[in-house]
Each structure stands twice: as structure tokens, then as C-alpha cells.
């Protein structure tokens, strides 16, 4: 319990919250990093998954990429990129490594969601004379939205968690508080940093949970 009171003391010291190494600055870096990577990953993964799901092709590819993605350590990818010419680009390697990490769950969930749409519904849409584009946007996408959003949620929470690893390679974000604590051999600071990241991850999880609870009401409103 000593470590927890120490962490509390660390967190309640206003000096630790301001400045370039302060909590607010690190939190802002972490937030920007997470949001930027999530947006880029969605822009890459979702169109591909939706089109593949609509055409019913490349399913094995979409699922296997996800399995391969799990086997590749993000930390290793980050360090590898850091040693390439890309490493000179500030946060470049971190963004690329995190995007590579977030794409697989997005791809798999969106693809599976598209394929799980009731085939008879798709057939009747086609029977009503809908074009492929209309079927995709008015039938398949709305029906698979819960699965697609579940993928976004998984990716978002994992991004928050994994963005800490950037600090191991000298990047910004909340992980910096933890690594700095390790270098100073200050257990209270390490634990305080860990608590901050965990709370951040849980807040993101909570935001998605609330959005999910509210979503069906909008969906019904549209009908």
C-alpha cells in the first residue's frame, strides 16, 4: 500500500502537472497520438474491409492479417522503424507502428460484421433492384455497424494502451512518465504513470460504452 500512497502524493503535487514533462502535456500528447492513429487506421482498414465484405472475397486474408498482427511485437516494429530513415521524422515511427497495430482488429471485425449480415436480407435488397453501392450503404453497413464499431472500440482501447510503448523508444505520451520514473528509480512516479494510463484506457472504454448505449436510439429515430 506504501506505493499507492506514494503515487497519490506524486499525483497531488501540482509541480508534476505543469511544464513539458508535466501530466497535462503528456496527456495531450497521448490523446493526439491515439486519435491521429485511430483516424488513420480507420481510413485504411474500414474501406478495404467493407468492400471485401460486400464482394465476399478475401475473407481468409482479412482474418489471417489479424492473426499475424498479433504475433508481431509492436515494440519490435517501433524500434525497427526508428533505425530506418523514417526515424528522423519525430513521431513518424510511432504513428506507423501504432497504425500497423490497430489495422488488424478493425479489418477483421468490419469484415466479419459485413459477412454476418443475413444473406436473405441482402438477396431481397438485390431483388428490390438496389445497386451494389445502395446495398452496401443502405443495407449491409447499417446492419453490420455494431460489429464495425466494436472493432473501432477494441482498436481505440488497445491504441491507448500501446501508445505507452512509444516512450520506451523515446517518444512522447503518458508512457514517458513511467519510463522517467524507472530511470529515476522512483516507484511512486512509475505507479502514478501506470494509474494515469489505466484510467485513460478505462475512460475511452467508458465513452464507447455510453456511445453504444445511445446509438440504437438514433438508429430507431432514423427509421
Amino acid at each position: 500500500m506504501n506505493a499507492l500512497t506514494g503515487a497519490w502524493d506524486w499525483l497531488s503535487d501540482p509541480a508534476h502537472w505543469s511544464g513539458d514533462d508535466g501530466v497535462w502535456h503528456r496527456l495531450a500528447q497521448h490523446l493526439v497520438l491515439t486519435v491521429v492513429c485511430l483516424v488513420i487506421s480507420c481510413l485504411i482498414a474500414l474501406p478495404v474491409a467493407l468492400v471485401l465484405g460486400h464482394l465476399g472475397r478475401g475473407g481468409a486474408l482479412a482474418v489471417n492479417i489479424s492473426n499475424i498482427g498479433r504475433a508481431v511485437p509492436t515494440f519490435a516494429v517501433l524500434v525497427l522503424l526508428l533505425l530506418t530513415p523514417l526515424g528522423k521524422w519525430g513521431e513518424g515511427p510511432t504513428v506507423v507502428a501504432l497504425v500497423l497495430f490497430a489495422v488488424p482488429p478493425l479489418l477483421t471485425n468490419a469484415y466479419v460484421g459485413m459477412r454476418e449480415v443475413d444473406r436473405s436480407v441482402v438477396s431481397s435488397a438485390r431483388g428490390m433492384g438496389m445497386t451494389g453501392r445502395q446495398m452496401l450503404f443502405h443495407v449491409e453497413l447499417p446492419l453490420s455497424l455494431p460489429m464495425v464499431m466494436n472493432g473501432v472500440r477494441i482498436a481505440a482501447v488497445q491504441l491507448v494502451a500501446t501508445a505507452t510503448i512509444a516512450a520506451l523508444a523515446g517518444g512522447g505520451g503518458l508512457g514517458r512518465i513511467i519510463t522517467a520514473g524507472f530511470n529515476l528509480a522512483s516507484t511512486p512516479q512509475v505507479v502514478a504513470g501506470a494509474i494515469l494510463v489505466a484510467v485513460f484506457a478505462l475512460i475511452v472504454e467508458g465513452i464507447f460504452e455510453i456511445a453504444e448505449r445511445l446509438a440504437p436510439r438514433w438508429a430507431r429515430g432514423i427509421r
Partner: protein, 226 residues
């Protein structure tokens, strides 16, 4: 004074045979540590997860809390998890193992529970009708039938553990992660690439091994397909 040797190590190339031959022992030690950390974590995770899943299956009210706690554990970042456990275990291999155990619990409990729930009621009634007691029913009917779902979870947990071990480098027990971390600080390209590739090889090999074990454990799934 001799001139520095002009080999791929001196030129700091990504792929370097010289590196493999001169640092074989270091690489081997790192691989062994990596395998040990992964295996111990997953086995301990399994030993804890099976009773938890069986309890959650037996008493419905236990399922909610068990799943909630393991899911919250999963959302804690690996770096944060290692640092939260730091005051308890200090800088040790136990720290890395307990962090990884907590991670694997989510995947294992979920999958084992799903497997147990999928056992058909008729099957269980038939076993009861044949005079099976609850323990015998669990050990010889329910758990074997839950093997395919459990193995799916075990494979994901193992592959994730192999890649998460690398983060243990922050406390000095990261297996191949140690080499990646050291290689990053010294700009040693061959070491970073070799260690990263070995991580992926270990993950893929472990996955295939578990797939083979699953096929051996569930001969009936193959017989059914004829």
C-alpha cells in the same frame, strides 16, 4: 595497430551472418528466456483460468464478476501493468510473468467458459443417465468437449504473450526484447532485426504446435469429417 575489420558488423547492416555466428550464445540465451517467460505465464494462466471458468459455469452469478474483472485487467496497458506490479515484485522475472498471467486470463477464461457453455444439454443428461457424477461429468465429458474453444483462446493468449514479453525489457527480463532494447540504444541494426524476426518465428511456431496438440486432443472432430 590493426585496421578495423570490414565486415557487415562494422558496416552495421540489417542482415548480418557475422552477427549470427559471433553472438550465437547471446541469442540462444535470449530465446530460452523468452520461451521460459511465455511458457510459465501461459501455464500459470491456464491453471488459474480453468477453475475460474468452471466456477462461473457452475454458478451463473459468478460469471458476470469474473468476466468483468478479467476484462478490466486486459485494458491495463502492458507497460503500465508491469509498473503497477513493480512495488509487489521488484525488478524480477516474476514481475513479467505475473503481468502476462493477468493478460492471458481474459482470453482463457472467456474461451473456456464459451466452450463449457456450448456442451449440449442432451450430452450432459446422457452422461448423467449413465451414472456419471458431477466430477466425472466435468472431467470426462464437459472439459474434453470444451477443448476446441479453449485451445482457440490458448493460441491467442500464447501468441500475444510471445509479443508482450518484449516489453519486459524495461525491467531487464524481456527475452529477445532485451536485445531489441539494447540494439535501439546502440543503433545495432542486425541485432534489432534478428531479435524481432526470432520473436515472430517463436510466435508462429508456438501457434502451429498448439494447433497440432489440439488435433491430437480432439480426434473426434476429424473422424466426423471423415
Amino acid at each position: 595497430m590493426t585496421a578495423p575489420p570490414d565486415d557487415c558488423l562494422a558496416r552495421n547492416e540489417w542482415i548480418c551472418g557475422e552477427y549470427l555466428s559471433t553472438r550465437r550464445q547471446i541469442l540462444l540465451d535470449a530465446v530460452v528466456q523468452h520461451l521460459q517467460l511465455t511458457a510459465v505465464s501461459v501455464l500459470v494462466g491456464l491453471v488459474i483460468a480453468v477453475p475460474l471458468a468452471v466456477l462461473a459455469r457452475r454458478w451463473g452469478w459468478a460469471a458476470g464478476p469474473v468476466l468483468a474483472v478479467t476484462t478490466i485487467l486486459y485494458t491495463i496497458p502492458s507497460l503500465a501493468m508491469f509498473s503497477l506490479l513493480l512495488p509487489v515484485y521488484g525488478l524480477s522475472a516474476t514481475l513479467v510473468v505475473s503481468g502476462l498471467v493477468l493478460y492471458s486470463l481474459t482470453l482463457l477464461v472467456r474461451n473456456i467458459l464459451a466452450g463449457l457453455r456450448a456442451v449440449p444439454e442432451e450430452t450432459r443428461q446422457a452422461a448423467r443417465g449413465m451414472g456419471y457424477g458431477p466430477i466425472r461429468l466435468l472431467l470426462t465429458v464437459e472439459l474434453p468437449l470444451a477443448v476446441p474453444a479453449s485451445m482457440a483462446g490458448l493460441r491467442i493468449a500464447t501468441v500475444s504473450a510471445v509479443s508482450l514479453v518484449t516489453v519486459g525489457a524495461i525491467v531487464g527480463f524481456g527475452g529477445l526484447g532485451n536485445l531489441i532494447y539494447a540494439g535501439m540504444n546502440t543503433y545495432f541494426k542486425a541485432q534489432v532485426l534478428t531479435a524481432s524476426v526470432l520473436c515472430v518465428v517463436i510466435a508462429v511456431a508456438a501457434d502451429l504446435l498448439l494447433l497440432a496438440v489440439q488435433r491430437l486432443l480432439t480426434p473426434w472432430t476429424r473422424a466426423a469429417r471423415g
